[in-house]
């Protein structure tokens, strides 16, 4: 009997703590598979955020550290400067990365810090129960925007990939989605490119991944995928925003 499919050993057997239908699980697997396929698992260190992925250190079969809220790029900087031959990645949500941790994110990119950031954008604070995130869409109803996000008082979505692509230190930056098989494949290639960018010591790499939050969006998993396509994609266009290794 031949084995046709196997779970990557870069993920542990621990049960995911994510809600049913949430796409965090897919993203975890993509990151883990890339690390396995690049054969860098023994030298990769991950930084878990505060947010839904706070327990990422239990899911990845890697040396991991749990960071203060938003500080993952600073923690990753400390690790990378101490172990420049290692691979260091952070795994962060939108509140962690684009609100409380904006400064750490922007300056890690500005320094061209040779780390990889996996940025999960689901337009909401998941773990705390569905509050407005910096990436919440105009009009989107959340626990703290019960009448819909009103830009006149609550501001506009933060376009992380567009913003960071303007910085010289950003070597690779792409926005992808995990709403369908085709896009999941593209997302994996993007994650691989980000780690290859780090391997080539080119600088800061970030993959922004549009993700769902069925629980806090109040939708079924499949409705959530439709909602992502219909509402998030027009606001957050997919594509490569910076690639110092390629032609862009």
């Amino acid at each position: 009997m031949s084995i046709v499919f196997q779970k990557t050993p870069v993920l542990t057997d621990t049960h995911f703590s994510y809600c049913p239908g949430c796409t965090h699980g897919i993203i975890h697997r993509l990151v883990a598979e890339v690390i396995q396929e690049m054969d860098i698992a023994n030298s990769t260190i991950g930084v878990a955020p505060v947010g839904c992925a706070v327990l990422a250190y239990t899911f990845f079969n890697l040396d991991m550290i749990q960071s203060p809220h938003g500080r993952a790029p600073a923690v990753a900087t400390g690790i990378k400067r101490a172990l420049p031959d290692g691979f260091v990645f952070t795994y962060q949500g939108d509140g962690d990365l684009a609100a409380i941790g904006t400064a750490e994110t922007v300056h890690a990119a500005a320094r061209g810090e040779n780390i990889t950031v996996i940025f999960v954008n689901n337009a909401i604070y998941g773990m705390t129960g569905g509050q407005m995130a910096p990436t919440t869409l105009p009009g989107q109803v959340t626990q703290t925007t019960p009448y819909g996000r009103n830009p006149s008082s609550a501001g506009y979505p933060v376009m992380v990939s567009e913003m960071l692509s303007t910085l010289e230190g950003t070597a690779y930056c792409e926005r992808v989605s995990v709403d369908c098989v085709k896009n999941i494949r593209k997302a994996k290639e993007s994650i691989r490119k980000a780690f290859e960018t780090q391997k080539a010591k080119k600088g800061f790499s970030l993959v922004e991944i549009l993700s769902t939050c069925p629980t806090n969006w109040g939708l079924s998993p499949t409705e959530s995928l439709d909602w992502l396509r219909e509402n998030m994609m027009p606001q957050y266009p997919l594509g490569v925003f910076k690639d110092k290794g390629g032609e862009v």
Binding site: I65, G78, H107
Partner: protein, 350 residues
């Protein structure tokens, strides 16, 4: 032969760190500690070390968190307003049981305060450095030589107890110049099997302060405080100056202790049996030494550049055995020897 160099306190503590094997410094500009970071920026490249000017105090302490998690000797420095910003990181360092060294070159507060020397961060250093139950070892250098020596001591203690060690300096000690002998050698860092690493051939390591099970978190806290009890039992340090027969015991650290030393000598020449107990560790506070001095003392005087912070530890230590007076100046004003002498004479007349 040991070298002897004239240098500023801020430079001496930096040199001490480098000679302790510290090769990772993360800082942010703030007066009056700037010479420290400037010195590091000059020296680190020559030692193949890392000097990184972070975007904020918060980022700097979190870079220390990341670097310390890999087992290297890492350090940051700041002054009072910046220390408040580091509180979050200090709590995480403690929650992860990571060794790290932090220098606070204190200035007057609260708020933006001023840039002249102060000692009003005693509480934030020794009592409430951040959220949750934790302690830091707090060293109080008394001169430029000790700025160097305490850096060496700090890295040793940090590794020994897996704690953050704060060197609680002030604007005077940081800025003044004195001759320094680079006498002490680097202490060997212990094995750090818990550290994050690369080229691994072992099970994964996790560095985390998160324990969602309250019983596990409670046990973690109890275990940590057993270690703290060991520190309290073994590491309290002080210097006695004319202390053996002292009836008036002045307790002072840092710049205040330098002022008080003159006042005590003058009081002795006037026939008053004054002496000084200079804490070298503020946490653990030299409680036993205070209690022992209280047996023969008529009164204690806390000389400090705060509205009365260390005085609380003295009161607790002497257990109402004798009166404890406060002799203070604040806001960047330094007590004068005459003021301290006046306070000693008043105490003698009690």
């Amino acid at each position: 032969m040991s070298e002897k160099v004239l240098m500023k306190g801020n430079e001496a503590v930096a040199e001490g760190a480098i000679r302790s094997g510290c090769r990772h410094f993360f800082g942010y500009p703030i007066t009056p500690q700037n010479e420290l970071a400037a010195y590091m920026s000059k020296r680190m490249p020559k030692e193949n070390g890392v000097f990184l000017q972070a975007e904020s105090e918060i980022a700097a302490i979190n870079m220390v968190l990341g670097a310390a998690a890999t087992g290297v000797r890492a350090m940051t420095s700041s002054s009072s307003p910046g220390i408040a910003l580091k509180s979050e990181g200090l709590s995480y360092l403690a929650g992860c049981d990571l060794p790290a060294v932090l220098v606070n070159v204190q200035r007057g507060g609260p708020g933006l305060g001023g840039i002249q020397p102060g000692q009003a961060d005693y509480f934030i250093a020794t009592q409430g450095s951040g959220h949750g139950d934790f302690r830091m070892i707090v060293l109080a250098p008394g001169g430029v030589q000790e700025m160097f020596d305490h850096a060496v001591l700090a890295f040793y203690l940090a590794d020994r107890y897996r704690m953050t060690v704060m060197i609680l300096s002030d604007g005077i000690l940081g800025q003044m110049m004195e001759p320094v002998t680079f006498g002490n050698t680097v202490s060997d860092a212990p094995e750090k099997p818990w550290a994050l690493g690369i080229n691994r051939k072992r099970e994964k390591n996790i560095v985390s302060s998160l324990f969602l099970d309250p019983y596990a978190l409670e046990a973690q806290n109890f275990r940590r405080f057993e270690r703290y009890a060991e520190v309290e039992a073994n590491e309290a340090r002080f210097e006695g100056f004319m202390l053996d027969d002292a009836e008036i015991v002045v307790v002072a650290y840092g710049a205040s202790a330098r002022v008080a030393r003159n006042s005590i000598a003058e009081a002795r020449s006037q026939g008053i049996k004054a002496g000084m107990l200079r804490p070298i560790t503020l946490w653990p506070f030299p409680k036993e030494a205070c209690l022992s001095a209280a047996k023969t003392a008529k009164a204690f005087i806390s000389v400090e550049m705060s509205m009365g912070q260390m005085v609380k530890d003295i009161e607790l230590a002497v257990r109402c055995g004798c009166p404890v007076l406060l002799c203070n100046r604040v806001g960047g004003v330094v007590p004068e020897p005459a003021q301290v002498l006046d306070c000693i004479r008043k105490a003698a007349d009690l």
